[in-house]
Amino acid sequence: MQTEIKFAGFGGQGILLSAKLLAYAAMKQGSFVAWVPSYGPEMRGGTAYCTVVISDKLIGSPIIKNPTHLVAMNRPSLETFVDDVKPGGIVFINSSLIPVRSNREDIIELVVPINEIAADAGSVRAANIVALAAFNAKAKLVDPELLKQCVKDEFAAKAKIIPLNMKAFDEGMNFVENN
């Protein structure tokens, strides 16, 4: 079994970190993982994306054209990648920035206003954590507690912002679980 999740958004939206945290938790859980960034010259201002591959055996090609799931943090990301998602996958839509929807019937649409949730939790900068928690609450790829611990570990050096991120995590998760 192999699951691939593409995270996509603007440069500054923290998607590389969300993806890394997911990969990290999956690794802790005993899976094979790979985190593959898109790196290219002058991505500035454009669309950045990366892919996390989680598998129960050694990962072959880490280059994924058709991911299982998509986490789209802004509109161009959704539009660029939505058609690549495999049928049955989750398409996560950050409705704070994306006014449109997937137009696909064969996938599961998960619409979350992450910027608002993050702002409510204390700061828009935690939007990527909201998205991570929310997405995982739906996709159930890793144990949420483990994932939350990974978030905590990540910010170990900046203890001050841990509470904010913990809150954002919980709110993101709750939003999905309660909707």
């Binding site: 010259p41 002058e42 500035r44 201002g45």
Partner: protein, 245 residues
């Protein structure tokens, strides 16, 4: 007191890939204006560096060659020697010109090659993500100097214009900045003068331009101007360093 202002014709409509507020764009315009005003478009060949300006050729409506990292002066030498009727300029960053390309710029200047170099000194490697340049200030942070430049281990920043100005061969060497409107106007004059010397086949001409890199300095565009004004200008003093006799 109103005035008209429009894009120079040598600059085409393509939007640049530069970060918001990056002064590369200003210098591009000034170079284009100089070429326009001197009527040189049809016989100009630009040489783009490897650095953020690697795609400069996308924005100028004249012939262009793309050099390897640091070697623009050697390419310009090749072009100008075999086609002295062409107007040749290189456009180089500080990593490109002052680090890997040190040998090439010194020798081209010393031979008195009759081309023009525009040297964008932003005290950092922009394109590759903020590594230390030979021009990085003492204590200034860079990805390869995370605690700030340690001059005990890496020496003092190199003042390229002064170094080139110290050669015996006649040349036009000047240091300018684009941190505020008056400086921009002066830089414009200097660039035009540099091309003028080339048109007259007089000497090698070199215009250093103190610039910004908001992205890798981690500052807003406006704060970048201020930081440069307060930190770069005291070390890199503006003005003509050498003019041909």
């Amino acid at each position: 007191m109103g005035k008209a202002f429009s894009k120079p014709t040598v600059l085409n409509d393509t939007m640049t890939h530069y970060c918001p507020g990056c002064t590369h764009g200003i210098v591009h315009r000034l170079v284009a204006e100089a070429i326009d005003e001197l009527g040189l478009q049809e016989r100009t060949v630009g040489v783009a560096p490897v650095g953020c300006a690697v795609l400069a050729y996308n924005y100028f409506d004249c012939d262009f060659q793309e050099a390897a990292h640091g070697r623009a002066p050697a390419m310009a030498t090749g072009i100008k020697r075999v086609r002295p009727d062409l107007i040749v300029f290189t456009y180089q960053g500080d990593g490109d010109l002052a680090s890997i390309g040190m040998g090439e710029i010194i020798h081209a200047a010393n031979r008195g090659e009759k081309f023009t170099t525009i040297f964008i000194n932003n005290a950092i490697y922009g394109m590759t993500g903020g590594q230390m340049a030979p021009t990085t200030l003492p204590g200034q942070r860079a990805t390869t100097a995370p605690m700030g430049r340690d001059t005990d281990a890496t020496g003092m920043p190199i003042k390229m214009s002064n170094l080139l100005g110290g050669l015996v061969t006649p040349a036009y060497v000047t240091r300018q900045a684009v941190l505020k409107p008056q400086q921009i106007n002066k830089t414009k004059k200097a660039i035009k003068q540099a091309f003028q010397y080339q048109v007259e086949n007089k000497c090698f001409s070199f215009v250093e331009v103190i610039s910004t890199c908001p992205t890798n300095w981690g500052l807003t565009p406006v704060d970048s101007l201020k930081w440069a004004e307060e930190n770069l200008l005291p070390y890199y003093e503006l003005g003509d360093i050498k003019t041909p006799e």
